[in-house]
């Protein structure tokens, strides 16, 4: 496929790995923020062709993983109602709440449907005027504009039976939380290419300046990741801490203005609780008052639901790059993709799932 295959070229990858080996003279720790990048790194064994002095730390960029138990429990409560068609992305089905997961609710008779786009949920609301259609809006800045468009369309069509359970989160506050962590080891970032396609690159400048960390906006194919690492290593070796853009074929400096405008129209920034990490100020999105009628949380009166994190899952440590998935005592034994204790073992972007799928030997 064009723009995929050529970015997986093995000979080019080796040339980049060679260049990284020559440039990296000291040990460095670089965090890839996005779970999609983590999966590519583990799947294509990119970390295994890097010099041993270079450590890739897997970041918190997995929206499924960081959605709090409390919000999952709200999703379960809504999905169990007989009048509801509950729509979500496939990744959410097996994420454990405090009791069960959406897949269990479905097997118990709940009408839970996997959709490809929030617009599909709007379509279901039109086709089923007698039912309440709820879309579980998870995701980072990449996904929030699409959700925003779906609610704007529902409002335009005056669909009274459509609502959103909003769990959107923002990336820069999570990067700040990592840098503020007491045992932070991260010296440079590969920032998430698709988030940055929406937001542009300027949002990273205060972080780079304040914490003296290079931030390289990076794509998702092996050559993208290797080039991103090389650019980051060159900055580190030269003592620079700048924002650079590797993913130029998609990311414009100013981002995608139409998408940002739609997001701004529908959502406002709020504090949000991240699963395994805790509350991060100004790190979530919620519907503006103007769109409050489309808020499933209010529509179904769920504000009272609160929940605790399960104690034995180390997801929080994994999500902040403090521990690796296989360092968890229950990795691959009591916690597997079929019987997950935590979300990183379920999601296609979760670090635990990546290690379990591609690296069972570790």
């Amino acid at each position: 496929m064009k723009y995929v295959d050529e970015f997986r070229d093995a000979a080019q990858s080796r040339r980049f790995a060679e260049a990284i080996r020559r440039k990296a003279k000291r040990p460095w720790n670089i965090m890839e923020v996005c779970g999609g990048q983590t999966h590519a790194i583990v799947r294509f064994a990119i970390d295994e062709i890097l010099p041993p002095s270079l450590t890739l730390i897997h970041g918190p960029g997995c929206p499924v993983c960081v959605t709090s138990v409390e919000i999952i429990d709200k999703a379960l409560a809504i999905a169990s109602r007989p009048e509801v068609i509950f729509c979500c992305f496939g990744d959410m089905l097996r994420v454990p709440g405090s009791g069960k997961d959406l897949s269990t609710v479905k097997s118990e008779g709940g009408d839970v449907r996997v959709v490809y786009s929030p617009m599909d949920a709007v379509g279901l609301a039109r086709e089923n005027p007698g039912r309440q259609v709820v879309f579980f809006a998870i995701g980072f800045e990449t996904t929030a504009p699409a959700t925003a468009m779906s609610v704007a369309l529902a409002a335009g069509l005056r669909l009274a039976n459509f609502s959103l359970l909003v769990a959107h989160v923002l990336v820069p506050p999570a990067m700040r939380a990592v840098l503020e962590g007491p045992s932070n080891r991260v010296q440079g970032f590969l920032a998430a290419g698709h988030v940055s396609t929406i937001t542009g690159v300027n949002q990273y400048r205060p972080l780079a300046r304040q914490y003296r960390v290079p931030i390289v906006v990076t794509g998702f194919e092996p050559l993208d990741i290797l080039q991103g690492i090389l650019m980051c290593v060159i900055q580190l070796e030269e003592g620079r801490a700048e924002v650079e853009n590797q993913y130029v074929r998609s990311v414009r400096p100013e981002g995608n203005r139409s998408a940002l405008g739609q997001m701004e129209e529908v959502f406002q920034t709020v504090p949000r609780n991240w699963r395994g990490i805790g509350e991060i100020p100004a790190s979530g999105l919620a519907l503006r008052e103007k769109y409050a009628a489309y808020d499933a949380d209010r529509r179904f009166g769920l504000q009272g639901i609160t929940a605790e994190e399960p104690a034995e899952c180390i997801a929080g440590e994994v999500l902040q790059g403090r521990r690796r998935p296989h360092e968890c005592p229950v990795f691959g034994t009591r916690c597997t993709p079929d019987h997950p204790l935590g979300a990183p073992m379920v999601s296609s972007e979760g670090a635990c799932a990546a290690y379990h799928r591609y690296r069972r030997r570790v």
């Binding site: 064009k2 080019q12 040339r15 060679e18 260049a19 020559r22 617009m119 990449t142």
Partner: protein
Amino acid sequence: MCLGIPGKLVEVYRQDDLPMGKVDFGGILKDVCLAFTPEAAVGCYVLVHVGFAISLIHQTEAEEVFSYLQQIGEAAAEEETSQGGGP
């Protein structure tokens, strides 16, 4: 979640007052909302996420990765140290 798939725009149309298009992903056609890439024209490559085109892929910029090593003077260094061999 943040997966973005590149595909070629082969048709544009409107639905519910929104710009839409059919995008070809290696032979599989999907309907995609073009509200965030109003400049997209038939023949363009777009990056698609959850049913929305989120950017136009720029061909010239896409090629930069292949000249980067030369640009930073690493291609020459590689020729000096390369032992060849291996697939």
